[in-house]
Structure formats: C-alpha cells, structure tokens
C-alpha cells in the first residue's frame, strides 16, 4: 500500500473518472481509497487552495502536488482516513472540496478588493482606542488655523441665518419668532 508514493501498492491504479465532472479534472482510486482533483492555478489562487485544504485535514489526508508538465495546475489528493469508502462517498468528498475551494477563492478575491478599506477602518479604530487627547496634546494643538470655508452658510445656525438685521434706529431688534412671543 502506498500514499503519494513512487512505489505501487497492491490495489492502487484502479482509477475512474468522477460522474458529473468533466473527464480529466477528477478521478477516484477505490484501491487507495482516495480521490484526486486537478486544480487550475490560473482560476484558483494558491491561498484559496491552502484554505480549502486546511478545512479538510480533519476529515481526510490531503496531499497537494504540482505534477510535472501540468502547466501551472495543482493536484489535490484526498485520501480516506479509516475504512473503505464507496465510490459515492469519495465523489461526495471531492465535490465538497471543490465547493470549498470555490468559496475560498471568492473570499480571497473579496479580501483582496477590500483590503484598503479594511486597513483604513482598522487604523481609525486603533486611533480611537488611544483615548481622548491629553492636556499636553491639547496644549500643543494649533487653534489658530482657519476653520473650513462655508460660502453657503450650511454650518450657520438658524437663528444666525434668519435673525433681523439691526437698524441704527432700532437697537433692540430681535428675531421675528421672539417678537411674536412677546406680544
């Protein structure tokens, strides 16, 4: 018996294609109790392959390899740990691995695309966790800087924006709502 070996075991070599999967992409070896999957390196990043393999190491023996002349493809061998599996069990195992691989590839792509945002949010969270500025920090802060420009008066309060303009002969001019209240 062998496992990923150069020597041939008594039952290995009885390989068959997996039903429902294109020929050449996956095969079963009932004698070795294993399923073998060919993974295209261009379609699935290495991180995804590692991720999917890591999920399966508690269920089966996982061997990653790069066959000679495979042109950037990897081969994943999933070997049953105990007992003799049926072809259907091995097929299910290979199918679940393929699904997990796709999931890992998708998550890997999302992580890559949102890396900048995650780093920004993390930096802000860490900055916030440093707590409020100390008195020394406030003392050093330069308050002489001009505030932001507000040509449309958006930052102005309602009272400031709508109050009556004081005339020279009416020193007690107050905003209209307050006048109504008085009368």
């Amino acid at each position: 018996m062998c496992y990923a070996s150069v020597t041939e075991g008594p039952h290995s070599g009885m390989t068959m294609d997996l039903q429902g999967i294109p020929t050449g992409l996956a095969s079963l070896d009932l004698g070795a109790a294993s399923a073998s999957i060919r993974v295209d390196g261009a379609a699935y990043p290495l991180d995804a392959l590692y991720g999917a393999a890591y999920v399966f190491i508690d269920r089966c023996y996982v061997l990653l390899d790069r066959p000679d002349g495979a042109d950037g493809a990897w081969r994943v061998t999933l070997a049953w740990k105990k007992g003799e599996p049926t072809a259907e069990q091995l097929r299910a195992l290979a199918g679940e691995f393929a699904n997990e691989l796709l999931s890992c590839a998708w998550r890997s792509q999302i992580a890559r695309e949102s890396r900048a945002m995650i780093e920004s949010v993390t930096a802000q969270a860490l900055g916030g966790a440093m707590g409020p500025p100390s008195l020394d920090d406030l003392e050093k802060y330069d308050f002489s800087e001009e505030t932001f420009e507000d040509p449309l008066g958006i930052a102005m309060s309602w009272e400031e924006k709508h109050k009556k303009k004081a005339r020279a002969d009416d020193p007690g001019a107050v905003p209209a709502p307050l006048q109504e209240k008085k009368s």
Binding site: T7, A53, I57, L64, D65
Partner: protein, 71 residues
C-alpha cells in the same frame, strides 16, 4: 516502505522537518531531498500503519505551512 513526496513549491521545508520530528516515534522516517520535492521514506510494522503515518505527517506539514503563511 512508503515514500511521501511533498512539493517544494507547496510545503515549507521547516514544516516538513517539524512534522518528521513529531511523527518519528511512530515509524522509521528517513528524510531526503529531491530537486522538486521533500521526500520522506516511512517504514512501519504494517502497510496500514505506514499509510496512516504518511497521511498524518502530510496533514501536519500542510497545517504548519498554511499557518506560517497567515502570520
């Protein structure tokens, strides 16, 4: 004798060394280096035991390799 071949592009050498050290009490392990693979020759009392040690050793080395990449 079972020969486990772990590709150098996919398995870190230190991870293989550590796995060999962990499983050395369970079988006779000989480590060799091929141009493209780390090779571990496993000899145990029965073929079933060799298969088991090979499988667990491979999983262990893979786990260490993946963990090393995540750091």
């Amino acid at each position: 004798m079972t020969e486990l071949r772990l590709h150098r592009d996919l398995y870190v050498g230190t991870a293989v060394d550590e796995a060999v050290a962990v499983f050395a009490p369970h079988a006779t392990l000989e480590r060799h280096d091929a141009p493209s693979h780390w090779v571990v020759q496993i000899t145990a009392a029965t073929p079933q035991r060799e298969r088991r040690v090979a499988g667990e050793l491979g999983n262990y080395a893979l786990g260490l390799t993946v963990k090393g990449r995540r750091r």
